[in-house]
Amino acid sequence: MKLADYVIEMLNITKIFPGIKANDNITLQLKKGEIHALLGENGAGKSTLMSVLFGLYQPEEGCIKKNGEVVEIRNPNDANALNIGMVHQHFKLVECFSVLDNIILGVEPNKMGFLQKADARKKVLELSERYGLKVDPDAIVEDISVGMQQRTEILKMLYRENEILIFDEPTAVLTPQEIDELMQIMKNLAAEGKSILFISHKLAEIMAVADRCTVLRKGKYIGTVNTKDTTVEELSAMMVGRQVNFKVDKKPSEPGEVVLDVQHVTVPSKIHKNNAVKDVSFQVRRGEIVCLAGIEGNGQTQFVHALTGLDNLSAGTITLCGKDITKASIRNRSKAGMSHIPEDRHKHGLVLDYSLEQNMVLQRYWEPQFQRSGFIKFDAVREYSDRLIEQYDVRSGQGSVTIARSMSGGNQQKAIVAREIDKDPELLIAVQPTRGLDVGAIEYIHQQIVAVRDAGKAVLLVSLELDEVMNLSDRILVMYEGEIVGQFDPKTVTVEELGLYMAGAKRMEV
């Protein structure tokens, strides 16, 4: 028998969930030492397919081969025994454990039941050095950035000496700098002979690192191509079945009266003694999209939390449509016309154990439209939710009654965006609104945000992605270490120039 061509073969996999065939006869073959990208719309079945490989789901049909031999993967332990490791779309770390504890969890080195952490620490530090995965082994996971959490997840796989590495949308939560680092790390790993499966919605990334790319659409296998022989346009057409417009079409903005007026806002930090946001002042007018740009961790999150009422500010005033809302409750801010697409969809955006329709009215269930003397009008809720699902193409197994937890990450995001935009707000605060969305959905959401602007509303966009910043905004504010250090017109500024301000190398008086 000749040596198998493929390390992993997933043959004719079918996985059925209530109401949906998430994978319909899909075949995926992974060569040793290659980076193989998996591309597809939100809900196409990418995460499901990877979960099957990792033993989280049992397929209804099909088989998996490793090095040409049929293997049975009943649970993640089996996967681990076959040297398969996975970094999930939503990380699976124990929040209150240290980085080191998380890495060794499940394979704790011990002598007669006593933990031997010293050896483990040495090994982790070696790995971290070798692959350039900077982590602090003693930091508690809930205190560290998402980037470091992800490096922890990668170290977890390397610590287990996994040979087949699955990355489910690893770049969705990273900053551009971290993405570059990750790409380099992946290339190094592949060069060492490890085989990588890589899910991403960002076509440029796939073109940059992947050798081959398999495309799925609505649970079905479309094809596998060599990235050398294809283009971004071709890939996106394969994926959504039509041409995608990457540039946002919009008229020049015509700013009207002031909607949001932020004056001297200061927010204390929860981690260190300094303020996270220092004396920030700006205005957003009707008919304009103002973008707050910056590298992650420069106070944007804290600022938005203070603005939306999730946290308190220590100084300054916030005025919305002429009304002082500095001390207003979240509900009253919402009533005054504020709408908020939150950064963390699982923490704030959704009640995961509620159905999709219950989540669709999360901000509005109390309106007379949806309740009468305290009793929910179920028909009205269903009707409303069905309309949003239709309009925003939110895909799920069972429509309105699907439990949000079972939905694909991108469709969860689409549901939130639909809910917040449809509230018809005076001010839309959109934090990373297209995180985890496929190119088709991004196109649609961008159009919707522009439509909100054109309807004479104000939009405050917070984004880490420079493409989005440059494409969508009418005015850019750069935040660095809690201060606004520059204001730009996207038509006249270059990405390089912005980068200098974001990194703190330059600043202007605003």
Partner: protein
């Protein structure tokens, strides 16, 4: 792609069915364990004098000729019903808190304090029964509010505060009632609180319902409309949880407090309110029992928390946290406890009876454990198919080589 083929109603009935099956499995396992225990103790009498009486429980006497003559053969059934009412209520208390993300292990304390409130209004103030019941509810609510406040504003786990306030409640009530033998509610001769029928008959929950005299049917002293009140409350709780915006808010807080806050729900207020309601339900249960004359409070002997409080956890879990399910599981657990007392005393002393019914009740709490198993069993056919395809795949491979 396949069209949607699962109706939500079908899914829901399937869920409900699974809960019922899981509960039944638990009951059977509990009964088997109880039986084994009886066999270990005394194999000879385990079945006839031990197990059968437990199963028959209150119904053992139905048809008994001697008792029939004095019209008492339904009395133990009446007793089951009387004991069920407080169990249903503490079960509701625990279930309600669970649904809103809180573990109310303090139902026992809320029950105790509620009993005190009700009895005080009856024995000392001679208020009508409904007023006493209301005060019992309020006292329970107050005792539930304390852990709620600690949880909401100081982030102290409700389990710890509930347990502490269980004991604080118990000893406070004992002290207040006894007061070195001078307590106004304390009947020194009987060494317990005064019987309501002697000191304040109007404080007793009536036993007549639309002209039906329940006492006439059951001939059990403390039979009253309490059971119907409990059933009514269970339905109200079901409606609150599933049909109202208030229930929507509370459950949202229970599932994800951050998202609830983001949605403009006052999550601190919700936590406190959830505990207040849970406490009120337990207090109401105490009122239903003590104001029916089910028992008097003995402050010197009551050094353990009333078991109704903790049995409430079993009631709630056996019912898969469904308020209406609590009615049935409450009745069942009351049936078992009554059954324990029906075992033949010379072979099985009452402590053993408590142990056996305790074992069964304890195992009833495991029903959620079986739910997952049943669900995976229901999807077995799919698994079998998967095996088959794997087989063919393997064969194909063999042929290729």
């Amino acid at each position: 792609m396949k069209k949607k083929n699962t109706s939500p109603l079908l899914e829901r009935t399937k869920g409900g069915l699974t809960s019922v099956i899981a509960a039944l499995i638990c009951i059977v396992i509990g009964l088997i364990f109880g039986l084994v225990f009886l066999f270990i103790l005394d194999a000879e009498h385990a079945w006839k004098e031990g197990f059968v009486p437990i199963i028959q429980a209150g119904f053992r006497n139905v048809g008994n000729e001697t008792l029939k003559k004095v019209g008492m053969n339904w009395a133990t059934v009446g007793q089951e019903i009387v004991e069920a009412a407080p169990l249903i209520m503490t079960g509701l208390s625990v279930a309600f808190a669970f649904k809103t993300g809180l573990f109310n292990i303090g139902a026992a304390g809320q029950y105790t304090v509620g009993a005190f409130g009700g009895l005080f209004c009856a024995i000392v103030l001679h208020l009508p029964w409904w007023a006493c019941l209301l005060v019992a509810t309020l006292f329970g609510a107050l005792w539930g509010a304390i852990p709620g406040l600690f949880k909401a504003y100081l982030n102290i786990n409700e389990v710890i505060t509930s347990i502490m306030f269980n004991w604080i409640g118990l000893y406070a009530v004992n002290t207040l009632i006894y007061n070195r033998g001078n307590g106004v509610m304390y009947n020194l001769k009987q060494s317990q609180t005064y019987a309501l029928k002697d000191v304040s008959p109007r404080s007793l929950i009536p036993s007549k319902l639309f002209g039906w005299d329940m006492y006439g049917t059951f001939k059990y002293g403390s039979i009253s409309i309490a059971i119907f009140l409990a059933i009514l409350v269970a339905v109200v709780i079901l409606v609150i949880l599933n049909k109202t915006t208030f229930g929507y808010e509370l459950k949202a807080c229970g599932h994800n407090a951050s998202a609830a806050k983001y949605a403009g729900i006052n999550e601190k207020r919700s936590i406190v309110l959830a505990m207040v309601i849970a406490g009120a339900l337990a207090g109401f249960g105490a009122g239903l029992y003590y104001l029916a004359g089910g028992a008097q409070w003995d402050p010197q002997n009551s050094t353990a928390l009333p078991s109704a409080g903790f049995d409430g956890i079993s009631v709630a879990l056996l019912a898969s946290l469904n308020p209406v399910g609590c009615i049935f599981s409450g009745l069942f657990i009351s049936h078992l406890s009554t059954g324990g007392a029906q075992m033949t005393q010379i072979y099985f002393p009452s402590e053993i009876a408590d142990v056996v019914s305790g074992i069964i009740i304890y195992l009833c709490a495991f029903s959620s454990l079986f739910k997952g198993k049943i669900l995976s069993l229901l999807s077995r056919p799919a698994k079998a198919k998967e095996k088959a395809t794997e087989q063919t795949a393997k064969e194909k491979e063999g042929n290729e080589q």
